[in-house]
């Protein structure tokens, strides 16, 4: 059976369905529609494995498509970035004082 994440990141597999989002705009929409509790739960699990995850992904040749499990891990790292800004900078899902405005990310 193929797994969603590389062997050593198995305990993060529960996050893949929710936060393994490749599309930048969808990641952002997911962030602003989450509660702080939800964002912190993902952040607290993911951040401590961040460095190791980046090193793992970085072993692969950038000019080749990533294997599916490594691509899922990379998408979790992307989501960690999106979520970390809410946790570390704004202390709320949206940018402070921005009401319901967001930018649409095209690419």
């Amino acid at each position: 059976m193929t797994s969603k994440l590389p062997q050593q990141f198995r305990e993060l597999e529960c996050w893949v369905e929710e936060w393994g989002i490749e599309d930048g705009h969808q990641r952002y929409v997911k962030r602003v529609n989450s509660t702080m509790e939800q964002l912190k739960a993902f952040y607290n699990d993911m951040f401590p494995r961040g460095k190791e995850a980046i090193e793992y992904i970085n072993q692969f040749d950038y000019s080749e498509p990533l294997p599916e499990d490594a691509a899922n891990l990379r998408n979790l790292v992307y989501s960690l970035i999106t979520v970390a800004l809410a946790v570390e900078v704004w202390r709320q899902p949206r940018v402070k004082h921005s009401a319901n405005t967001i930018l649409t990310r095209i690419c």
């Binding site: 970085n58 692969f60 790292v77 992307y78 690419c107």
Partner: protein, 432 residues
């Protein structure tokens, strides 16, 4: 490149002293509120000047095209690379009966693609990529028809630095290079050519386009508006005196265009770096692990030759902002959709990553900048609503807000001169 600064603050300590014609008093805010002014702005500012609509990389091959839906010009623009490799612009309309020419599914959705010719889906008329008619369908039905007078209507098109510009004024005689003037001289030699790693964002905001541009025309709002994002740093920066963190290194005006050069948080670890910045080795100023460019900076960048230099922001008239940083260049295009609303398009052009680590570092930079743009935009819709209340007639600009003063003056002067010229022509016609 000479290391001598090309701009220095006047001895008096006020940038305004370098540009006495600007004035120093309060500025009328009518140009950002009044619907009648908006109509005149459309006519004299947007329909008579070069407007950037995209990049040459969007039309890479013969037959490549893209469309732009531009409410401020009351038209849809079609940009096409011809069989002769010339990039042309047209009104996106079939000259037979006026059907919109290139669109799919939704006539108001912008699109891009590649086609050997331009084909109208209504009656099957075909046009060459240079707009000329190949063949109407059912030639047997034609009446008093001259095919040479039935081309897709052209719009002037020109390029500079890989940017595609259009000009709606059929009487325009100036190239885009001449229009951009001495700022373009100073950018000569900059490596605009791709390939780029491109990140694009857009939003429609309920504020006048100039109000947004004003927000990116000075940096002294930093410690106040960006108190949340640049927290600890801004505590150092809040002082009632000349401030090396937030005062621009230089302001320059050139014809209708303007620029400022600004101190930047270095793209390396600082005492203020957040955990996610350390993890991804990156900050809003750019990835820490990027290789320095082997090309020297063109003479117009970092005009004070400061070692504290972070970025240069050029505001080309009317709505094209071009920002340079150590990561690459970013454009802001502002497209009015009404007197109190506009679409902002933010496009970032970075060096293509060569490793996954570099790509992840870029992701932090673009994600952080996305949030900073929202923080910059955060006061603007409330501000526009209060300007619309007409409680105020004027606003105030200090010495660090010289570019704000300049933008409003150039727009107001352009409208005034355009109206004068128009009235003169009307009187001349009546006299004749």
């Amino acid at each position: 490149m000479s290391d001598d600064p090309i701009v220095k603050k006047p001895e008096s300590g006020f940038w305004h002293d370098a540009y006495p014609e600007l004035g120093r008093g309060p500025i009328s805010l009518e140009d950002s509120v009044c619907p009648e002014f908006y109509e005149k702005e459309k006519e004299h500012v947007f329909r008579k000047n070069w407007l950037c609509v995209g990049r040459v990389e969007q039309v890479p091959k013969k037959g490549s095209y893209f469309t732009r839906e531009l409410a401020i010009l009351d038209t849809s623009v079609l940009v096409v690379r011809g069989k002769d490799d010339v990039i042309r612009a047209f009104h996106n309309v079939c000259p037979h009966r006026g059907n919109k020419l290139v669109w799919q599914d939704d006539p108001f959705k912008e699109m891009e693609g590649n086609a050997p010719l331009l084909y109208c889906r209504f009656h099957g008329w075909r046009f060459n990529l240079d707009g000329s008619l190949i063949k109407p369908s059912r030639a047997d039905l034609l009446l008093d028809f001259d095919g040479s007078k039935c081309s897709v209507p052209a719009i002037q098109c020109d390029t500079w630095g890989g940017f595609v510009f259009i000009n709606m004024d059929p009487d325009n005689k100036q190239t885009v290079r001449d229009f951009l003037g001495e700022f373009a001289d100073g950018l000569e030699g900059y490596d605009f050519d791709g390939p780029h790693q491109v990140y694009k964002f857009k939003a429609e905001l309920q504020c006048n386009w100039k109000i947004f541009m004003d927000g990116f025309a000075e940096s002294y709002h930093g410690p106040y508006l960006h108190a949340n994002s640049f927290g600890a740093l801004t505590e150092v920066a809040k002082m009632d005196a000349a401030n090396p963190y937030t005062d621009a290194l230089a302001y320059q005006l050139s014809g209708p265009h303007r620029m400022f050069s600004f101190y930047g948080e270095p793209s390396k670890e600082t005492p203020f770096s957040r955990p996610i910045e350390k993890l991804t080795e990156s900050s809003p100023a750019g990835p820490w692990n990027k290789k320095p460019s082997d090309k020297p900076l063109p003479k117009g960048l970092n005009p004070t030759r400061s070692d504290k230099y972070g970025f240069d922001s050029f505001q080309f008239f009317p709505n094209f902002v071009l920002i340079f940083s150590s990561s690459g260049f970013t454009t802001h295009l502002h497209w009015p959709t009404g007197p109190h609303s506009h679409i902002i398009e933010v496009d970032m052009y970075f060096k293509p990553p060569t490793t996954h680590k570099e790509r992840i570092s870029q992701e932090l930079t673009v994600s952080f900048l996305n949030d900073i743009v929202l923080e910059d935009a955060s006061p603007l819709e409330g501000m526009q609503a209060m300007l619309n209340s007409r409680a105020l007639t004027h606003f105030h600009a200090n010495d660090e807000e010289i570019l704000v003063r300049h933008l409003h003056k150039v727009v107001q002067d352009t409208v005034e001169e355009g109206e004068k010229e128009k009235n003169k022509n009307i009187i001349a016609k009546q006299g004749g």
